[in-house]
Symmetry: C2
Subunit: 200 residues, 2 copies
């Protein structure tokens, strides 16, 4: 392949991923067809199969990417947050919530369609999620150890916060009264409250 | 129809609803087929169509029932909770979370498959949800007015709490380390924390 066809091929791959997300969102994993995805991407089904073995492979790639990007956003926010658990917890939640509000379809599909993946494929996606969760657990543990946070169970509190954020696409509208950033900031407050830290 | 066939007919209807929930959970709304539902219920597809016009009608009935039952559980808990916003908020959240932990499939399907219903059908389901949400909003407003709770936005805080509860089936396992009641009680603590009330 020359450079030009590599670039063209990359373009097709990205377009397939984009239209596959549309299709999974609109029709669910079981309702989605490779043919529809190909049609929307403006290529042949055979072309889709050149890039992705099957629907599972497409869903895995979409969910891993979304999860990796969200993870990166959270880590970038943490890099600027300094060492204090309150700042770190708020920064991590705000970044996580902001990503969710700005990528509602990928986050919704991640929650609703993950259960249709086989065990192996699910593990490939869940690994990236677990790493993300661990970031939050580390901060919460730090806060509890320093006597700043207080929760019945740290992992459970983290999960509660992450699922609360994961629910944002169920109700948030970009053209609604609050911006994604405002919603994310509010969720930072809820998350600090939730771990027993009173935001003054 | 004599009494016996009425009873038999009711039995079939219930069985269809039960197997339809299994099918929606396993295959999603778009992947579910009336034929599979009929097979699992041990009746003919024609028989399923006698009771439900189409898949949407089945999904609406399942989601409305689940929502109504959850609503009833919450109201019953509130009846025993007395007048104080802290007691009422905790009681409502614990009842809501407990129902979710005990009815994971219906609650998961409600969140992941609702978007596939048409506008009219979605409104039939969402009405019952809105009523439920209003219960929580009333208590939170009461708490804020009395200066006991403090949140950036009341509706948003309620939604955060309800989606946090809705996420329970994504991770809770009945054979895990905590019982459904213990998880629900913990969520009562998180929800009180979240609205700025410090559980001592």
């Amino acid at each position: 392949m020359n450079t030009r066809s590599v670039v063209a091929s990359l373009g097709v791959r990205e377009r397939i991923l984009e239209t596959a997300l549309d299709e999974f969102y609109a029709s669910g994993f079981h309702g989605a067809t490779m043919r529809n995805i190909a049609n929307s991407a403006g290529c042949s089904a055979a072309n889709v199969y050149n890039h992705f073995e099957n629907k599972s492979e497409l869903l895995v790639e979409i969910l891993r990417r979304a999860s990796d990007e969200q993870f990166t956003a959270t880590r970038n926010a943490l890099r600027k947050a300094g060492p204090h658990p309150v700042d770190r917890w708020r920064a991590a939640v705000v970044a996580h919530a902001l990503f969710t509000a700005r990528n509602p379809r990928a986050c919704l599909v991640a929650n609703s369609e993950l259960r249709y993946l086989g065990e192996v494929d699910r593990k490939r996606v869940v690994g990236s999620r677990d790493a993300q969760e661990q970031l939050f657990v580390d901060i919460a543990e730090d806060g509890v150890e320093q006597g700043i946070f207080s929760v019945p169970h740290i992992h459970q509190a983290v999960t509660a916060v992450l699922t609360m954020c994961a629910g944002i696409p169920l109700w948030f509208r970009a053209d609604g009264p609050l911006t994604a950033q405002e919603v994310a900031d509010d969720f930072g407050v809820y998350a600090l409250n939730l771990v027993g830290y009173r935001v003054s």
